[in-house]
């Protein structure tokens, strides 16, 4: 008998039918992947599953172990053995692992905390997921991958038998992702069931027993993984065949636009620990230079240093258009030199979420769109409309709030903001993180257009197929040092991973 059965679920939001008669089931000890573009209804489905959308606010029925259930709150579903591991982790950064683990279920005696008991529980839970960290560590000092393990351990300590993971590997490095997948396989053997949501189809192929694809609120296909090859999943997700998924633009021998020499900087909190250590490279017009490496290898630090937002003193030189400059220490300087940065966390560094699409688009160029000191409304709307059309941003209007757009369209707004500054060098940090397949393809195509126009692009990505598929050359960083430079013909996933993981100092450029 199925552990979980959702029958004919329908959910309406004002003006939109988010789910339209979706059925979904999950067997004990099964990993069932849920795929679909952003906006396909995955999030809505799991919110219904977990009681975030209370019973009664949607149509259809839900059964757990054959019994009809009505979850009114998250607590209801938790009690029934469901645990949601969301994209944004629900941990208190300032609390220790123990405190986080026992939060809401603190063992107490006459109202006093039983710290030993809490620690024991915590250690036992950590053991279950095979995470060996000191339980007294503050969670903010753990890596993202470790934090995720803590969340899973926390769920298991509450006797969860059904885990719902929403994009769990979006922020993880390859090795952390692998550990997470291994853990899920182990848990499956112990009878834990998993609903697994991911845009990374390689992972789905590796771990899932079954796959269900949602599109526009409907369940398009479902079947065992053996009958759901990657191409079919993608085709079902987007409703069309995606032929050249990584349209690498033809290499062009342009002039060198940016030449970086010996860029270094130290962690201001830990003197002597170099986050970047003597990195040199150059980028030509019309070229995409990929930045590979593990989480913490210095990719983001390198882009931050180039854009003047590094949190520390940067040394080295930057050569542009024949002049040698010291590293920038404010984004204004970088913007003046026609450099733009699309950061890895668009909600934090890219957008003013409670502002309109219009305000976000023109944020970096407002001072230029004035007449006699006052903003020129017409010029602003013209600029915005051009970007909305060029980038095919799906929005109801320019006055729509940024937080009402899907992830892909938010990313396009960030890109549009920078295109209005007419940059020559575009720095991209994880440009397609958390974005659906359709929007990804559009952004890839866009990068092709930009390079054809002579822009130089430096792109950091944890998504190896993306990095390999788009870059003309790939610079691999390892512990802040350049650990290898590969051109498009010699680069392979294995070579990049080798350079990225080699013990410091051993890696060579090829």
């Amino acid at each position: 008998m199925a552990l979980l059965e959702l029958k004919n679920i329908t959910k309406d939001f004002p003006g939109v039918r988010a789910l339209d008669g979706v059925s979904f089931d999950l067997n004990p000890g099964e990993i069932h992947a849920l795929c679909g573009e952003n906006g396909a209804g995955k999030s809505t489905l799991i919110k219904i599953l977990c009681g975030y959308h209370p019973a009664g606010s949607y149509g259809g029925e839900m059964f757990l172990s054959g019994q009809k259930v009505f979850f009114k709150t998250l607590q209801d579903s938790e009690k029934a053995g469901l645990a949601l591991i969301a994209q944004e982790l629900a941990l208190v950064p300032e609390f220790s692992v123990i405190e986080n683990m026992s939060l809401g279920q603190e063992p107490s005696h006459f109202g006093l905390l039983q710290k030993d008991q809490a620690e024991q529980n915590c250690r036992r839970a950590l053991e279950k997921v095979g995470l060996s960290v000191d339980p007294h560590t503050q969670v903010k000092d753990l890596g993202v991958g470790q934090q995720q393990m803590v969340e899973i351990a926390k769920a298991l300590s509450k006797d969860a038998r059904l885990l719902v993971l929403d994009e769990p590997t979006a922020a993880l490095t390859e090795s952390d992702s692998k550990r997470l997948l291994d853990l899920l396989s182990q848990l499956r053997q112990k009878g834990v069931s998993v609903v697994y949501i991911s845009h990374r189809l390689e992972e789905v192929a590796r771990i899932a027993d079954r796959v269900t694809v949602l599109r526009d609120g409907k369940s398009v296909s479902t079947g065992p993984i053996s009958q759901m090859p990657k191409d079919k999943i993608i085709a079902d997700m987007v409703g069309r065949e995606v032929k050249t998924f990584y349209p690498r633009p033809p290499a062009r021998e342009g002039e060198i636009l940016l030449s970086v020499k010996n860029l270094s900087f130290e962690n201001p909190q830990v003197p002597g620990r170099k986050i970047l250590d003597g990195v040199s490279f150059e980028v030509k017009a019309g070229e995409i230079l990929g930045l590979g490496g593990l989480m913490g290898s210095g990719r983001t630090a390198l882009l931050s240093a180039l854009f003047g937002v590094a949190r520390g003193k940067v040394t080295g030189t930057i050569e542009m258009e024949g002049s040698t400059l010291p590293p920038f220490n404010h984004p204004t300087q970088a913007i003046r030199q026609k450099i733009a940065l699309v950061s890895e966390d668009r909600k934090r560094y890219g957008l003013v979420l409670e502002s309109t699409v219009r305000e976000n688009l023109v944020l970096a160029v407002l001072s230029k769109l004035t007449r006699k000191g006052l903003l020129d409304g017409e010029a602003i709307d013209l600029s915005c409309e051009k970007e909305v059309l060029d980038l095919r941003i799906k929005t109801r209007g320019l006055s729509t709030l940024a937080n009402q757009l899907s992830g892909g369209n938010q990313q396009k707004v960030v890109l549009g903001k920078w295109f209005l500054t007419s940059p020559k060098i575009l720095l991209l940090d994880e440009p397609t993180r958390g974005i659906d397949v359709g929007a990804k393809a559009e952004i890839y195509e866009l990068l092709g257009r930009l390079t054809a126009e002579g822009m130089a692009i430096v792109m950091a990505s944890s998504d190896l197929p993306e990095l390999l598929g788009l870059s003309h050359r790939i610079l691999v960083l390892n512990q802040g040092k350049a650990a290898g430079l590969f051109d498009e013909h010699s680069a392979t996933a294995e070579k990049i991973m080798e350079a990225a993981t080699a013990a410091a100092g051993k890696a060579k450029a090829s």
Binding site: H330, Y349, L351, L363, A364, R396, L398, K417
Partner: protein
């Protein structure tokens, strides 16, 4: 691009607030047998709100940028006394005394802004310290004795615009509104029609008494200028972006420190203006002048829809908020309500306004 949903383009929030204000006015009007809505009382009401209104319209910008300024009340009191002393005891010409007061306010604000940005001190702490310092300084400056300036100083707070001049200004403004009404084709044109009615009615009522009070004119001019600054200049929009997401604003190349220092400087200068108006209206600089006014200003801004989280708020909303607060004071005074009820009711309205706002936003 056409906004597909016309319902979204109607300023529901503003209309709700105006509606709430009308309800308050009608209730007071009934409670006072119409005295509340008499031209004489409305004129008094406007003058009562001038000082809070000036502070509130500057406070909006401070809060929108994600900051707070607790020192403005005490600074207003101190600067009001400074202006009086410079003019009365030191015999400075009036214009010079006023200019020096506003400049002093700007300087104090500038210093506080520097402490906040360059030394990374929380604005709450810096301006709380500032509040205490200005309170003490006011006491030291006046020695506990009230300073009373002569009539030409007091005119700033007590005189009226000649009625003809009032109508002249109104006609100019009305002409502008009519021009915009016919230029604008969309639904937004009715905003200009509304403003036309408002401006004409405003002048008609105040001229039915003794004319437009000078402090009220000053308030409206400042509010108008600050509103243009907030909505139609890069500087103003940058403040909203900083309050909405400081990191994103920084990454977009906005010089955050410079913007914040300037907003505190502006607030200080406005406290200077408010101080002069306060002294002139009351007729003397007293040692407890400006007491708690920072909280009135913050409350007015918040009732007017400003979010303490930053990134959201409007100058005209704050003016409306100040009007609500002044109406409560004035109306309860007229009804001879015991004084202790005033802060209780004002506090309740503040909580109610924010609560209604939050509920309304959750729904949308």
């Amino acid at each position: 691009m056409i906004e597909s949903n016309w319902k979204q383009s109607i300023p529901w929030r503003a209309l709700t607030m105006v509606g709430a204000l009308l309800v308050i006015w009608i209730l007071f009007s009934i409670g006072t047998d119409g005295t509340f809505l008499s031209p004489r009382n409305l004129s008094l009401l406007m003058r009562q709100m001038a000082v809070t209104g000036i502070l509130a319209s500057g406070m909006v910008l401070v809060i929108v940028a994600g900051q707070i300024d607790l020192s403005v009340g005490a600074m207003t009191g101190f600067l009001g006394a400074l202006a009086a002393l410079l003019f009365v005891n030191h015999g400075w010409p009036l214009g010079l005394a006023f200019a020096a007061t506003v400049l002093a306010g700007a300087l104090f604000g500038h210093i506080q802004g520097h402490l906040v940005t360059w030394f990374n001190l929380p604005p709450f702490i810096v301006t709380l310290g500032g509040m205490l310092i200005f309170q003490g300084s006011l006491l030291g400056l006046t020695g506990g004795v009230a300073v009373s300036p002569t009539p030409d100083f007091l005119a700033v707070g007590q005189a009226f615009l000649p009625k003809g001049v009032g109508w002249g200004l109104t006609l100019l403004l009305d002409a502008f509104f009519i021009w915009r009404f016919f230029k604008e084709k969309s639904l937004a044109r009715w905003k200009w029609a509304g403003l036309f009615v408002l401006a004409t009615g405003f002048t008609a009522i105040l001229n039915a008494y003794e004319g437009i009070p000078i402090p009220v004119l000053l308030l409206l001019v400042l509010t108008g200028a600050l509103s243009v600054l907030a909505l139609q200049t890069p500087y103003g929009r940058h403040l909203y972006a900083i309050g909405g997401n400081r990191e994103a604003a920084f990454y977009s190349g906005i010089n955050i420190k410079q913007h914040l220092v300037l907003v505190f400087t502006l607030m200080g200068a406005l406290a200077g203006v408010a101080g002069i108006v306060l002294t002139a209206r009351v007729g003397a600089a007293t040692s407890d002048a400006g007491h708690m006014m920072e909280l009135d200003a913050i409350a007015a801004a918040v009732i007017g829809g400003t979010s303490l989280m930053g990134g959201r708020g409007s100058v005209w909303g704050a003016l409306l908020g100040a009007l609500v607060m002044a109406s409560l004071d004035n109306g309860m005074g007229l009804m001879n309500t015991e004084a202790f009820w005033q802060p209780i009711l004002k506090g309740s309205i503040l909580i109610l306004a924010v609560g209604a706002d939050m509920a309304g936003r959750r729904k949308s």
